[in-house]
Structures are given as structure tokens and as C-alpha cells.
């Protein structure tokens, strides 16, 4: 089970800035362990953001994204009290969804 994300969503005018920290190893598949064996690739492949259930952002990610990635974006029209949901799916099929309320 993946660790939770940290999501902050702050409204200013008609725009809401969303900042997300995801907890993930993001292994590229290029590294080797101490025994010289390749560490298998393990990274977030798909990120979806929703605003009150409606998809507002989708992203295809790959191994070049850092460990414990940080994502920031702006949602137009989101107001205080709205729900922002983030879902990621990694290449092993593991997924995690977390939700935050716009403040």
C-alpha cells in the first residue's frame, strides 16, 4: 500500500493553485543494486487530477520524474470548499487516490 500524498489547494480570485507531493520511489530501471543486479523500473505512469469529480488534468509520466515528485498546477474556476482529487497509477498497477478541499 502506497503512502499518502500531501495535497494543498489554495484559492486566489478565480484561480486555485494546487500543490501535490507524492510518495514514490520512481526507480528508472537503469540503476544497479550493491550486488550488481538491475533494480527493476518502478515509476508513476499516469496522473489524473479532478475538480469536484470532473477530470481537469491528465499526465503521462516516465522514469525521468524524480523520487517523491512535486506537482503544481492551477485550476481555473475552483472555489473554496471545492474538492480536488489526485490519482496516480504506477507501472506495477499500484494506485493511490487522495483528496483535498480548496481553502
Amino acid at each position: 500500500m502506497a503512502d499518502p500524498m500531501r495535497i494543498r489547494a489554495q484559492a486566489a480570485g478565480d484561480k486555485t493553485t494546487v500543490r501535490v507531493l507524492m510518495s514514490h520511489e520512481m526507480e528508472t530501471g537503469q540503476r544497479k543494486d550493491a550486488a550488481g543486479k538491475v533494480i527493476p523500473a518502478w515509476f508513476i505512469q499516469e496522473v489524473t487530477a479532478t475538480h469536484n469529480g470532473k477530470t481537469v488534468l491528465t499526465a503521462d509520466w516516465g522514469p525521468s520524474i524524480s523520487k517523491n515528485p512535486f506537482l503544481q498546477f492551477v485550476v481555473k474556476g475552483a472555489k473554496a470548499g471545492d474538492k480536488i482529487g489526485i490519482t496516480w497509477v504506477d507501472n506495477k498497477g499500484d494506485k493511490r487516490t487522495d483528496e483535498a478541499t480548496v481553502s
Binding site: 499518502p4 500531501r6 517523491n68 503544481q72
Partner: protein, 265 residues
């Protein structure tokens, strides 16, 4: 066309000159500022907070009755008073060794087994996450380690001697790098730890998330790596010398504001 290319090159050269005026330290400070907003230490904070109240271990108990020096279960403000003397264990303990004591007495974990676990693995990773959250609960508070008990004063004196003790293949001591102002390793400025180095510097910045390797580093790991860099043998986890060094740095940092968990290059 040629003229515009020339103009562009001239503009680039100007940019270069402006950048050159900025020191490497300024560049690192700027980089840290940019990262602060998304410090992955927050992920470890969240994990530590959940671990604190979660029933775990052979005794299936939480850590909510753990005494970090301010009374059972008091977390806020505890970090800036550690290491300190604990009457129940009859020794001076830092945050991490105290957490291991609580995990052993309250939850029934094997303290020696945890101390042997490499950093970042198993229960040791949990100790680091707990330490991160406990440190974060005292963010913005100022260090004020007690020195009332004789053992605490002794720990400070032992720490001071260890700090200035030279040895190893490179004839190094902690003071070789951290004993005066303006020293650096490669491009990294080194704080002078023989006095209060200022708010959020040195002892007041750890635990910290290290971006370059994506690891959460506790003070025990920070000290462990200082020993490695001096080509000293690794100190035992929570050993007397590591706690004495922490006491020395912590007492010297009296009045400094804690920014832990910080973010480091």
C-alpha cells in the same frame, strides 16, 4: 540577421556577467527556497504522525504515552530540549534513542534489533519518520537544552572533547571543518558549531530531506556520515558519543530557531 544574432550574444554575455556576481552559496540558498514549497520531508512527517498513534508491535500499543522529556505524550516543544537526562533509563538520550526506548517499553520492540537496522530500512525508517514529525511539531521554537542534571553537563563536556578529538587516516576532527567561520566542502558552506551558528543552521536544521539522494536524514545519520567523512569507524546508533556530540551542538545552539525538517541539496 547578423546584427540580431550579435545582439543576442551580447545579451547572453551580459546575463553571464550578472550570474557570475552571485556566489555559489547564494545559488544554493535560492535553490533551497524554490524547493521549500514542496519539501518531501512532509511525506515523512505525515508517516511519523500516523505511526505515533498507531497500535503496533508485540504489545499492540501506540506511542501516545511516550515521555520525550516534557511528560507522557507531550510532543510539541520536546524536540528543542533534546538530548536531555531521563530518570527512567538513567542516561542522557537524544530524540531517536528515546524513541527506541519508547518503542521497546511501550510497544515491545527489540531495542538492540532496531539499533542494528541500517538507516532507511524496517523499523529504523519508522524511527526516522517519527523523529521528523516530532521535530516538525517544534518548528519555529528556539533551542533550550536543560543542563541542570550532572549527566547533562557531563554529556556536554564529553561532546566537546569528541568534537575536538583528532584521529583517523586524515587526522581529522569535527572541528577541522566546523571549528571556524567561512569553511566549506566543495561548494557547501559549513557552519561553525562551536558556537550558535544562527537560526535554522547546523543542529537547528536536522532532520532534513536530501534532494540529491532522496533520503530523509536524521541527526543520528548526519553524525554517522560525518564520522564516515572523517574516515573514523562508524559510531553505534544512539551511542554515548553521538548523543554527547548532539548535546554539545544543541547546547551551543541555545536560542537558535529550529526549522527542522529542512531541505538540503
Amino acid at each position: 540577421m547578423k546584427v540580431s544574432i550579435f545582439a543576442a550574444l551580447a545579451a547572453l554575455a551580459l546575463c553571464g556577467a550578472a550570474q557570475a556576481q552571485k556566489s555559489a552559496a547564494d545559488g544554493i540558498a535560492e535553490y533551497r527556497k524554490m524547493l521549500e514549497d514542496g519539501n518531501p520531508a512532509e511525506l515523512f512527517e505525515a508517516k511519523g504522525e500516523a505511526l505515533w498513534s498507531q497500535k503496533r508491535g508485540p504489545k499492540n500499543a501506540s506511542l501516545e504515552r511516550c515521555d520525550l522529556g516534557l511528560g507522557p505524550g507531550v510532543v510539541k516543544g520536546a524536540f528543542v530540549t533534546l538530548p536531555r537526562y531521563f530518570a527512567d533509563t538513567q542516561r542522557v538520550q537524544d530524540l531517536e534513542s528515546r524513541l527506541v526506548t519508547c518503542m521497546a517499553t511501550l510497544q515491545g520492540f527489540d531495542a538492540a534489533e532496531i539499533a542494528k537496522t541500517p538507516f532507511g530500512r524496517g523499523e529504523m525508517a519508522n524511527v526516522t519518520a517519527l523523529a521528523t514529525w516530532i521535530a516538525a511539531s517544534s518548528r519555529g521554537m528556539r533551542f533550550n537544552l536543560p543542563q541542570g542534571h550532572e549527566a547533562e553537563r557531563q554529556s556536554y563536556e564529553v561532546g566537546k572533547r569528541a568534537f575536538f578529538f583528532r584521529g583517523g587516516t586524515h587526522d581529522f576532527s569535527c572541528a577541522s571543518c566546523h571549528g571556524e567561520e567561512g569553511k566549506r566542502i566543495r561548494m557547501q558552506d559549513l557552519p561553525n558549531l562551536t558556537k550558535n551558528p544562527g537560526d535554522g543552521i547546523g543542529f537547528a536544521a536536522w532532520p532534513a530531506y536530501r534532494v540529491s539522494n532522496g533520503q530523509m536524514w536524521s541527526m543520528q545519520l548526519r553524525l554517522n556520515d560525518c564520522f564516515r567523512q572523517q574516515r573514523f569507524p562508524y559510531p553505534g546508533f544512539g551511542s554515548e558519543v553521538t548523543i554527547a556530540l548532539a548535546t554539545y551542538m544543541g547546547v551551543n545552539a541555545k536560542g537558535a530557531e529550529s526549522i527542522a525538517p529542512a531541505i538540503k541539496r
